[in-house]
């Protein structure tokens, strides 16, 4: 199936779990990344049970903050 990940269309196996996608895409420090699918945020607890489907669009948003 085709999924858009970070703006790029890619092919993945069917019934891909979000946790598997995070691993395949080698997302750094995933605990500090907010994931959105089709503009909806996915809670951390739902990652394991979230299954992607054809045409989904996924974004990985890193926490951004700092001090001075």
């Amino acid at each position: 199936m085709t999924i858009t990940v970070a703006g790029e269309k890619k092919e993945y196996k069917d019934d891909l779990k979000l946790t598997e996608l995070i691993e395949i895409e080698e997302v750094e420090t995933p605990q500090y990344v907010t994931v959105s699918i089709n503009d909806e945020f996915i809670s951390f607890d739902d990652r394991e049970t979230t299954v992607l489907k054809e045409g989904d669009s996924v974004e990985f948003l890193y926490f951004m903050g700092g001090g001075c």
Partner: protein
């Protein structure tokens, strides 16, 4: 980065003193890794503090959606240091989770603003070759 973007960035950050100002960087990237900043996103510092900043994930998502629409790539983030130099603080380093990002730090502590770009990976930072372009010249 075009000098007009640079000027706008400085003006925005100055207008938001004494708070730290912040946002995202978008643009294009060549195969050799050269990056061209085409758009700067000005986002709310949800901490509203002079010594700290955080971006809201919803604001980030809206900005990234806009980047995708414009055919631009997220290239990193920027924030100002109202009263400290243009180098990553310990907290900046600790919270730099994305090693693919460029981290712009704009210091407003002196009369003349100073902007630097950093790559941060495994809590080690390195200055990037940031060029402000004006016509045929850069500085």
């Amino acid at each position: 980065m075009d000098y007009n973007l640079y000027d706008d960035l400085i003006n925005y950050a100055k207008e938001h003193l004494p708070e730290e100002a912040c946002g995202l960087l978008a643009g294009e990237e060549e195969k050799d890794g050269t990056r061209f900043i085409k758009k700067i996103y000005y986002l709310e510092n949800i901490d509203h503090a002079s010594d700290h900043f955080s971006l809201d994930a919803k604001d980030q998502m809206e900005a990234v959606k806009d980047m995708r629409k414009l055919g631009l790539k997220p290239l990193g983030n920027w924030h100002s240091h109202p009263e400290s130099p243009s180098r990553p603080s310990l907290e900046d380093i600790k919270l730099a989770y994305d090693s693919k990002a460029s981290y712009f730090i704009l210091s407003l502590m002196a009369k003349n603003p100073v902007l630097n770009s950093y790559h941060v990976e495994n809590e080690i930072y390195e200055k990037e070759d940031l060029r402000i372009v004006s016509g045929d010249y850069y500085y």
